[in-house]
Symmetry: C2
Subunit: 243 residues, 2 copies
Amino acid sequence: MARFFVDELPHEGTEYTLDGENAAHAKVLRLRPGEEVTLCDGRGTDCPCTVVEGLTLRVGASLPCPAEPSAQVTLYLAFPKADKAEHVIQKATELGAAALVFFPSRYCVSRPDEKSLPKKLERWQKIARSAAEQSRRGVIPPVRAVDSYAQALAEAALADKPVLFYENEAHFGLRDLFALDGQSMAASTLALMTGAEGGFSEEEIVQARAAGLSICTLGPRILRCETAPLAGLTAVMYALGEL
Amino acid sequence: MARFFVDELPHEGTEYTLDGENAAHAKVLRLRPGEEVTLCDGRGTDCPCTVVEGLTLRVGASLPCPAEPSAQVTLYLAFPKADKAEHVIQKATELGAAALVFFPSRYCVSRPDEKSLPKKLERWQKIARSAAEQSRRGVIPPVRAVDSYAQALAEAALADKPVLFYENEAHFGLRDLFALDGQSMAASTLALMTGAEGGFSEEEIVQARAAGLSICTLGPRILRCETAPLAGLTAVMYALGEL
């Protein structure tokens, strides 16, 4: 079923006409009269509609999007090379991430300069929107950047459960984390932080611990910087019963 | 630590000289005398070595590779478009897959012809080898193809726990599967089957059930054909305590 994000959901029983990018998308899909489509406000509410004709829809009663996890998992990612960032944004959106926040770190090989960053973020946000449509998400995860590692740590530390995945942590894993907290995590907020191609420095790990983050392994296999956040997100979603 | 796959591990206490692709790789890495590297037979056994000089190593005592999961998880994948296949092979190797088997299915949009398949498989096997080196695997997952969906089902059904992920299965998930079988799965064999861009036909699902596969959901979000096998593999590795 086709899915369109709109700024404001129309009222039940009215007619609504798709416009802008949604209209262009609908033309590609060749919607037929009687077909069911979904409007979504991108903040968790869906509105089932029926195509009247062309781009005009009859609006149904809105309801909470059934594909949204109750846990809010935000990914904090050290800037990777650009194509990897796009990959992670698309996949993390499919897998249910609530938001993505990029930050610079000591061993980043590819930190966007101040000039290029706004354009990159605009492009990245479009990728999240498109992935949210395709995966039937009810929320378009916001994609942001912060200026420093310290700022990323401070933000992440506000989550109910902030975690940093570190390849040199040999023992403490996500299962230990969830064993400590039992099943009380289902509706909580989590922050999952991962490094860039070059990993984290030891000093950065000390800072993360001091900020209150749990340092976790993702197992004995060394994951690439674009694989680790998605593996962590998937494992957390499974552990929370969202998968 | 650098890692090199060799056909046969040399005896402890002897000297061994890297050759072929390993020599080329070692030159790029600029190994220094005294540096520790690992030789691996690609069948689960590691052999720590010390660089004597140039490409010559002093061979230590071999031991089981610590990065190999005890569960053997084989992915069965309907042929996706070529770049997606390469992506899945690389990531699944990192995440601990035991083997990858491609098969044709009704809605495949991109089935390689008989002429191009051997070259593709050769290329795909190289991707698995390279990913195994980087992620410190002890096994290079074999990458194969079978001629038919029926053959893929028959092979998958031989696993202790064969699973097919289907987007139209709304309720039964991996957690239900593992709840049924408790923790007895740790050293078992699993087969995880996923569809191509076009998904599975209803008839194919009937065939899979008849062959003994469990039909599972991966949650309410619709995953792309290259995301689903990796999400399933990650969740299984987490559930089995391998992550």
